[in-house]
Amino acid sequence: MSLSELTASQLLQQLREGRIKAVEVVAHSLRQIDQYDPTVGAFLRVNRDHAFAQAEEIDRRRSRGEKLGKLAGLPVAVKDNICTQGEPTTCASRMLKRFVPPYDATVIAKLKAADAIIVGKTNLDEFAMGGSTETSALGRTCNPWDVTRIPGGSSGGAAACVAARMVPLSVGSDTGGSIRQPAALCGVTGLKPTYGRVSRFGLVAFASSLDQIGPLAQTAEDCALLLEVLAGHDPKDATSIPQPVPPFSETVRQPLEGLRVGWVREHLGEGVSPSVLAAIQEAIKVFQSLGAKVEEVELPHARYAVATYYIIACSEASSNLARYDGVHYGYRTDEKAMLAELAEERRVLQQQGKSEALEDLDTALVRMYRKTRAEGFGAEVKRRIMLGTYALSAGYYDAYYLKALKVRRLIRQDYDKAFQKVHVIVGPVTPTPAFALGEKINDPLAMYLFDLFTVGTNLAGLPAISIPCGFSEDGMPIGLHLQAPPLEEETLLRAAHMFQQVTDWHRRRPPLLDRQAVAT
C-alpha cells in the first residue's frame, strides 16, 4: 500500500512498530509536494533540509529506545499566519513578506514538543480574509479535485495539501469558516475547536473574539490526534479556557449511544444546490441507520449571521491591523519618494493659495503610515479595514457594531436552546461545491454570503467539524457540517468517526493523483 493512502494514525502505528522510518515518511511527503504542488500551489515555503534532519534525529532517538512525542515522525503543514521562530510568517501579504517572528506560536511549540515534523507553511487569503485563497498576495492555490476551481479559504493551502496527500496533518485557523469551508470544498476533514480551546498566542490576529486554530486531516480520527496536541490552557492567551484536554485520540473510536441529531429547515432550502441537498439528506439517513434520533431544531436568527459576522469581524480587524504602521516590522514605503510627493503636493496647494487644504495635508509621519498601508495591503484587506473603521466611527457605532453584538447574543441563545434538544446540529458547510477561480472575486458581497452556514458557529464560540459526505455530478466534494455545544469536541469527533466507519467519501482521492502517478 502506498504511503499516501495511509492516514496519520496508520502511519504513526507503523512508525511505532518500526515498520517504516520517519525519513521514509518525510521523503514521501516531499516527493508528493514536488510532484503536485507546482500544479496545486498549497505551500508558500517548504523546509526540505530541516524536515529531513529532524526525521533522521527522530529515527535515531527511536532506535535508542527514547521516549518520543505523540506525533513523532509525522509531517505537518502549518498555515502561514502562525508564527514560526526564525522562519518567515507572511500571512500571504506584501506587508509581512519579509517578517521573521522572534518567537514560536504556542501551537508550534506544542508540535515541536510532540516531535511532529513541520514541512512547510501553507497559502491563505491575505491575513485570512477571504473564502477562496484568491486574496493571497503571494501565490495561487487550486482545488486538487479540479484545478480551475478555488480550494476554498482562508485555509485553502492547508486543505489542498491534505487533499493532494502531500501531508497527513495540517494546521489551519477558522474565524468564520476558514478551516471547515476549504475542508468541505477539498474533500478533507477539518475541525474548528471551541473558542478558547486552543491557544492563539502567535496566531496573527484577524478578529480576536472569533479566531481559533484547529486541525485538518483525512479523517476525524486524525483530527483527534492533532487536536489533542494543539489544545490546552495557555497563560500566554488570556482567552484560553482553563480546562483539561480530553484524550481525544482514544475516545474518538468509542461510538455514541443515543445520539440526538438536529437539522435546521433554512439550511436545507433555498440557495442550496441540489447535489449538496441530496448529499446532506443522505448523510442524515446514515446517522439514522447508526441509531441516532433525528429531529428538527430552530435557529431563528441564523439568517442574520452573515451581516452580524462581517460587522464584528471587520471592526475587530480594523483595530488589529492598526499595528501595521511601517515602524516596528513589516513593509514600509520608500521614504524619499514619499517625502518628494508630499513636498510637491504642498507646493501646488501653496501656489493655488488653498490654505484650508494645506492645513489638512498629511504630516510626513501620517503620510508614511498611509502610503505604507496602501502599498502593503491588498484590496480585500483594505475593504475590511474601511468597513470596520466606518462601523466603529462616531455616529455609526451604535447602529452597526453595538447592534451586531446584540444580535450576536440572540444567535448564541438560539444555539443554547437548540442544544437542549439535540447533541449535534447537522447541515451543509457551503451552499454549493467549489466555484471557479475568479468567479466571485469582484463581488465581495457574494463572497461573504457564501459563508452563511459557518459564521454562526464562530459568533457563538462553538466547536464544529466538516466531513466529506458526497460529490456533485461533476465530481466536486461536498462537506457535512456538525456543530456542538461549547467544549463538546469529543462528541463531534466521535459522531464523525462513526460516520466515517460506514462511509468512504473521506477515502476518495482527487483524480489528479492517479493521472499524474500513471504519467510518471
Binding site: 519579509r98 521573521v100 522572534p102 518567537y103 471551541t194 473558542y195 473574539s209 488570556a238 482567552t239 479556557i241 439568517r303 451581516a307 452580524t308 460587522i311 492598526a322 504602521d325 511601517g326 515602524v327 516596528h328 513589516g330 513593509y331 514600509r332 521614504e335 514619499m338 508630499l342 504630516t363 510626513a364 509621519l365 501620517v366 503620510r367 503610515y369 498611509r370 498601508r373 496602501a374 495591503f377 483594505k382 475593504r383 479595514i385 474601511m386 468597513l387 473603521t389 466606518y390 466611527s393 452597526y400 447592534k403 451586531a404 453584538l405 446584540k406 444580535v407 447574543r409 448564541r412 465581495p444 458581497l445 461573504y448 464562530n458 459568533l459 457563538a460 464560540g461 462553538l462 461549547p486
Partner: protein, 96 residues
C-alpha cells in the same frame, strides 16, 4: 448609503491612501455591503445585552513579577528602518 466624501474621511481615519478610482469603487462596494447589513434593523434587540466574547471569561490576572522579555536586538530585527537602539520614523515636528 455611504458617500464618496465619507469614504475619503474614513480612509484618513484608517490610515489608508486610496486612489480616486479605489475611492469610487470602495464607495460602491461598501454601499452594497452596508445596504445588506441594514437587514439587522428588522431584529428587535431591545433589552438584549451585547455579547462581545462567546466565552465570557472575567479578567485574567497574573502575578506582578518581572520576567525576561524580548531583548532589544530581537525586537528591532524586523524594523524596516532603525539605528543602533531605536526605530526610525520621518520627522514628527516641523517642516521636512
Amino acid at each position: 448609503m455611504i458617500s464618496l466624501a465619507e469614504i475619503e474621511k474614513v480612509a484618513v481615519l484608517a490610515r489608508l491612501l486610496l486612489t480616486p478610482a479605489e475611492s469610487q469603487q470602495m464607495t460602491e462596494q461598501l454601499g452594497k455591503i452596508l445596504e445588506y447589513m441594514s437587514l439587522l434593523n428588522e431584529v428587535n434587540t431591545e433589552n438584549v445585552e451585547p455579547l462581545a466574547h462567546a466565552v465570557e471569561l472575567t479578567n485574567v490576572f497574573r502575578e506582578d513579577r518581572v520576567t525576561p522579555s524580548l531583548d532589544r536586538e530581537m525586537a528591532l530585527a524586523n524594523a524596516p528602518h532603525r539605528d543602533e537602539e531605536c526605530y526610525r520614523v520621518p520627522a514628527v515636528l516641523g517642516e521636512v
